[in-house]
Assembly symmetry: D4
Homo-oligomer: 235 residues x 8
Amino acid sequence: MGKMPVKAVNMKDDYLELGFAKLDISRKRRIGFDETVFCSGKTKEQLLQIFSAFQENSCNALGTRCSREQYEFVRNAMPEVHYDTTSKILSLRNRKPQALAGKIAICCAGTADLPIAEEAATVAEFQGATVEKFFDIGVAGLHRLLSKIEQIRRANVVIAIAGMEGSLAGILAGLVQAPVIAVPTSVGYGASLQGIVPLLSMINSCAEGISVVNIDNGFGAAIQACRILKQIAHH
Amino acid sequence: MGKMPVKAVNMKDDYLELGFAKLDISRKRRIGFDETVFCSGKTKEQLLQIFSAFQENSCNALGTRCSREQYEFVRNAMPEVHYDTTSKILSLRNRKPQALAGKIAICCAGTADLPIAEEAATVAEFQGATVEKFFDIGVAGLHRLLSKIEQIRRANVVIAIAGMEGSLAGILAGLVQAPVIAVPTSVGYGASLQGIVPLLSMINSCAEGISVVNIDNGFGAAIQACRILKQIAHH
Amino acid sequence: MGKMPVKAVNMKDDYLELGFAKLDISRKRRIGFDETVFCSGKTKEQLLQIFSAFQENSCNALGTRCSREQYEFVRNAMPEVHYDTTSKILSLRNRKPQALAGKIAICCAGTADLPIAEEAATVAEFQGATVEKFFDIGVAGLHRLLSKIEQIRRANVVIAIAGMEGSLAGILAGLVQAPVIAVPTSVGYGASLQGIVPLLSMINSCAEGISVVNIDNGFGAAIQACRILKQIAHH
Amino acid sequence: MGKMPVKAVNMKDDYLELGFAKLDISRKRRIGFDETVFCSGKTKEQLLQIFSAFQENSCNALGTRCSREQYEFVRNAMPEVHYDTTSKILSLRNRKPQALAGKIAICCAGTADLPIAEEAATVAEFQGATVEKFFDIGVAGLHRLLSKIEQIRRANVVIAIAGMEGSLAGILAGLVQAPVIAVPTSVGYGASLQGIVPLLSMINSCAEGISVVNIDNGFGAAIQACRILKQIAHH
Amino acid sequence: MGKMPVKAVNMKDDYLELGFAKLDISRKRRIGFDETVFCSGKTKEQLLQIFSAFQENSCNALGTRCSREQYEFVRNAMPEVHYDTTSKILSLRNRKPQALAGKIAICCAGTADLPIAEEAATVAEFQGATVEKFFDIGVAGLHRLLSKIEQIRRANVVIAIAGMEGSLAGILAGLVQAPVIAVPTSVGYGASLQGIVPLLSMINSCAEGISVVNIDNGFGAAIQACRILKQIAHH
Amino acid sequence: MGKMPVKAVNMKDDYLELGFAKLDISRKRRIGFDETVFCSGKTKEQLLQIFSAFQENSCNALGTRCSREQYEFVRNAMPEVHYDTTSKILSLRNRKPQALAGKIAICCAGTADLPIAEEAATVAEFQGATVEKFFDIGVAGLHRLLSKIEQIRRANVVIAIAGMEGSLAGILAGLVQAPVIAVPTSVGYGASLQGIVPLLSMINSCAEGISVVNIDNGFGAAIQACRILKQIAHH
Amino acid sequence: MGKMPVKAVNMKDDYLELGFAKLDISRKRRIGFDETVFCSGKTKEQLLQIFSAFQENSCNALGTRCSREQYEFVRNAMPEVHYDTTSKILSLRNRKPQALAGKIAICCAGTADLPIAEEAATVAEFQGATVEKFFDIGVAGLHRLLSKIEQIRRANVVIAIAGMEGSLAGILAGLVQAPVIAVPTSVGYGASLQGIVPLLSMINSCAEGISVVNIDNGFGAAIQACRILKQIAHH
Amino acid sequence: MGKMPVKAVNMKDDYLELGFAKLDISRKRRIGFDETVFCSGKTKEQLLQIFSAFQENSCNALGTRCSREQYEFVRNAMPEVHYDTTSKILSLRNRKPQALAGKIAICCAGTADLPIAEEAATVAEFQGATVEKFFDIGVAGLHRLLSKIEQIRRANVVIAIAGMEGSLAGILAGLVQAPVIAVPTSVGYGASLQGIVPLLSMINSCAEGISVVNIDNGFGAAIQACRILKQIAHH
């Protein structure tokens, strides 16, 4: 047992001060990805100021859950931004991302999960990842999933997206070797509790090799998958 | 639109008055099964009085969730009772049940679900049903379930018992034609909420042909399965 | 104890690949019913593509929770579809269903439960079942239920639909011999928690012979009832 | 609109100061009943001090949820106290209560609800009420309840005690004219959530004329019933 | 112990059959009040049919939670109906109610609770009760409540209406002798959970003499209060 | 132990009686702040009457959660009122508040928390407090918070506002000496449960020196902070 | 808008490394109080090592929720420690705390809340605060609270401790000028949900000037109160 | 759009049939790890049979949540098993695992989280991973975490283990580039809800790069971390 002389922690990270926001422009260096903006709850004027600041600093940036109205307001002033209708992602790309090694399989249980699946795909590709999509392979018709399983097994990370009872994640985790990132969705009705049931179901899976992100959080699953792919490159 | 002259409802059903209990001895005629006693929460003296009354009236009777201590107290006075350690069922049989047509498949996900599976099996057999058991076929190792699926498909009712995320019921319902009675169990830990998660997961299954009973309610699933088998005979 | 050489599972089931969806056209053979589409959460273009595919393959198909707007979009291109306003069911019928043996009693507690009761009736009749309806027989005026009980007792399956405290299912299960499929509804206010209370109340019923489906899931109850009726025929 | 000169509120009520407790000896005058002590969570020394103080002031007093160990400790020093094993009520009576007009019907659904029913009965009789008991009349065997309904209808207040799904209260309220005080109990298992389900079920009853007290709160129901009986006398 | 020969229960109660509804016209005789219609969830055509039927049978009837649109549709065909904007109650009166003995004090905590308080007042007065109102006496400014307490103490029943933390009911129950019927309201925000918190808070009150009805259920509280007042008359 | 003769409590506090409301004009003397009106749930006519009454009595008054429509209605009749769009606060100032000693640091985690942060700032300044704002210092980019920590440490009270997982409050409490008032916000999605998760997270903080107010309750945090500042002056 | 060059954050704080624990010995300088150890969940050997390390460094230290068994194991090796049976606090005092200005009023609703009240008192006095205690002043007998209110109003901070429905905190906050720190307790039964109900009730109080700590967290309330008292001194 | 002829899925996986269990001995080949047995809920006789079967087949196997009593029973018959007291892991090793590339950092917030941290460490090392441990670095003393951050940043996966409010995971994810696997623990009291609060807090983290496993599921986090490390090798 000894007294530990702690050296000063040197947090040299920078940010851009906008008053209502502090943009974390050192994020790329610190955690490996550019800042992402959660658009919901911000005024369209704030959003424009934020993306303008990124543009002035030649950053890449993503905006998730961006409404069409927010997008149109920003695009009027900044034609450089891009918008994807299904995933509701606003993006600004000033440089091409470095291609990541490996591959991500994005699987979803039903057609209603598509917006979340596309959010995951758009984010992962923006970060340089290779993505393969497997849609509508929910467990009510198991043969659909089984007909694709060999292809899914070749991915380095599997993103499993499902609402209702969320079984897809556990079934996949029992059939592949790669880590499974489970995304519960708010698809369902009645006692699905807006996604709480598939969230808890995935958390309690009897299969191992699953970890879970927030309901409808395709973005978070994609970033986690990209963090994993980066370990391949790091090594 | 007319005023409906309602004829007097003639409820001629009888019961035995014990003061602290009213034993429903007309149940067999009314709903097709003998009375079952939920032993938990009754004193051992009350239990003995109840089973003695059934014996005096030559009834068949079941006691579920019967502790070993309750059983031993009753058996001392009434050697006719039988007890099953795994399912904790106390039984009194004064006449042989009529054999039911058809077959029940009782499936459970893991070894820890066995007490509930055995409760279901014991109750169903007591009522005259033919039972086939498929244990430890949880979805983490899907090949175990798939290796048995042809046999399961030959049953007229499937009882699917699982804790944790409770996927087994939905998978089965997507692979068989018979009705699936799902039994969530309190097996699990952490966020399984003592069975609430598999209960809600089963309720939200994207597969059709599932209906759900209470957590750990092997008894209820068995009776529901027997009610279904009786429809075969009725016709 | 022996090592089990597991034979290859032969899942020869087919599906139609639409990219955003995989239509399970082998369902009829596998589980006995045609595919049903959950319309809520799908775009109207997706819905049209799905029903067109079913039509091209001469399938029967149902769409539940179909909005009037979705229906009108599909009908413009496909005059063959039919729509029921109360139950919000879209249907496509290319061949007459085989009549099922037996009868289903559909009981509901109050007038506000009618849309769910009609969903159950429409689905069951689409599958070939005979249905008898008993509406507004909730327990606040018990004589209404008792005046109908003899008729209800003649059914092979009873569907009990109720919101608020959901007592109807347990009362019925204590008075009939047939299996009771309970459907909690979101009818109610305040602490009914959008149907969670009748759901849990039905799950905890002290009466035996009840199993429960999701809140407002008239469709699921009907299919479960039809699976039960099919056992009569199978035998 | 006018400024209201508020006169000083004259709260002349007294209490006995014990340091760790302030005994509300003016309760009888203020709200019509003597103080009741919730024994659970108090040390046995505190309990003795409290009952000694009541005795010194010639008060009547009740202690609910009193363990046998607490009782025996108090009785050793104060032989005047009385204890009821089923209801776990400790009582001290220095004067006979004034008889209340009218009658309370105490109904319970099953044998396991007896301790709560006896708590209600003991408290009500201690306060001078006339009580009639109807035990084990749960709705799974409706004829048992219906065979007693004429007697129950003659009471001025009905206490309805039930666990599991708690239907008894609503059924009774639809059949009698008197106010129904509903007591959910923690009897049940699995998804009954230790009485939360019957509590919410009773709160959501479609029948009118029900109001609800806490889970297992036989005491509270009895006092509320006595408050109602007192209105008869007051008038 | 003896076998109880149960005489046939004679339920001679009548109802009007409307197909989608069965109107309980024997309610007055059975439980002492006319039928009340919960308007929410019914179509305006159904509502008109129901009130027309009551009118044809010269019944009094109330409709709670009636929207202005529903009201206007009914009134166009039936000018006899009356509507109260604050309480959203539709009423049809064919005969004057018999005046009830005693008095009800209706207390509410804040101005936002007024619609519920007025619902209670309108219903109670419709049933013949005398009502006194005490509004905005919430506990944040205790002197307001204390300035009125002597008047409140003169009532035979106290209805206590409050949202947020719902303290009003418990404070009142500690200061009056009459039974307190507590009505939690959905007034509040954030963690008030749409009234679940005041509901549970009232259920757990340390004061005795409280029983609780559903969130925002002014109607239910009024009927319970009237049932209590009727006991005065009965005696 | 002795009997405590309790002297009459002299509650001389006044209020203005408006019928639907009782305005607590003695609040300033009793608890140190003027009355605040929770505008949500009040009609615009009621709001005008309330603010008119305050104006007639020359009171200062605040209205929180005031909609633009409510504001415009009141302002038309009372041009003296002021409205802040971001915080949705309506204010009426008839006298300048006494300046409070000390300083409040208002910290928020993200841009979407701004309305709550501005509500806290507006209320605190209205009461005479000095406020310093630190916005968008959430823990995902810890260097932003650490770059401001020396300034925050100079405040006498810290208000920490955060949604999602609400970590900000605990981090701050571990770095400053002043009391931290934590305000969970409804910012987030999916499993954040409209602010319940940050509320419970803050309540469970492993750091000491935190106490928590309701979700989105910037007003309550500001008043609590001002109560603390007043202790400096009192001494 | 400008790029903020962030200076290195100089966290010179020290700790003692024990392997299984890192003792935060710079806490006194950083946040103003010595480290407190949460004893529950630590082995008695770990606890001894921790307190020995504090002793070697001449620190003051508190251990909360210390079992008698843990205490006896530590005291055998370290006779310097002190233990309080009611509050279950283990303490080690190597220097006298500096007396804090002002006074804390510790109020609790019932006798069963005493252990938490004593935890708060012991912790506050250990930190140098002056404490005045007001026990058993719950709102069921309001005159008890009112008889003490003038004394309570003289404190600089009020700690309000209550279980069941937790009304005490809101009532006090409406009657005093000082900040109220509310401590919900797990005292109660049935639907009190082990303290969740008083917690949420306190969070939703309609009175202002309340902030809330965790259930049964007397320690946390005391530290928050001491942080407030320190602001008096700081100024 | 085309009809997809689905080739037979060839699931050649084997298992050992024990009657009460089906041991998944093809798991290593299918998902890359040996079977792990969840010991809780199994009888000690079942456990011995299972480990004997593994031993006969020369498998490696782990048993988690193994009680000392279970261990001793198994070891008596099978001296080859090993047991770790802190993590409660029973292990059987018949061959050395292949060393995995990369490194896992296992971080925990407090001393009470140690059993879970050791479960994670034991499982990961059993699978061939290199592990570095960082214990008691919770956010209440942020300098402890910051003093270790450079070391943690060198790992390929970070496991973050915390109870109470669970902030550690989010803070870490904002400071490292590797994926963070968050493990909520049941450490805490009061409103921590046995780990539900840190679970939901971690799920809602505003930082990206976190995915979450079940409460106290050190095992699951370790396997997920190993799956990630295996991707490095695969490439």
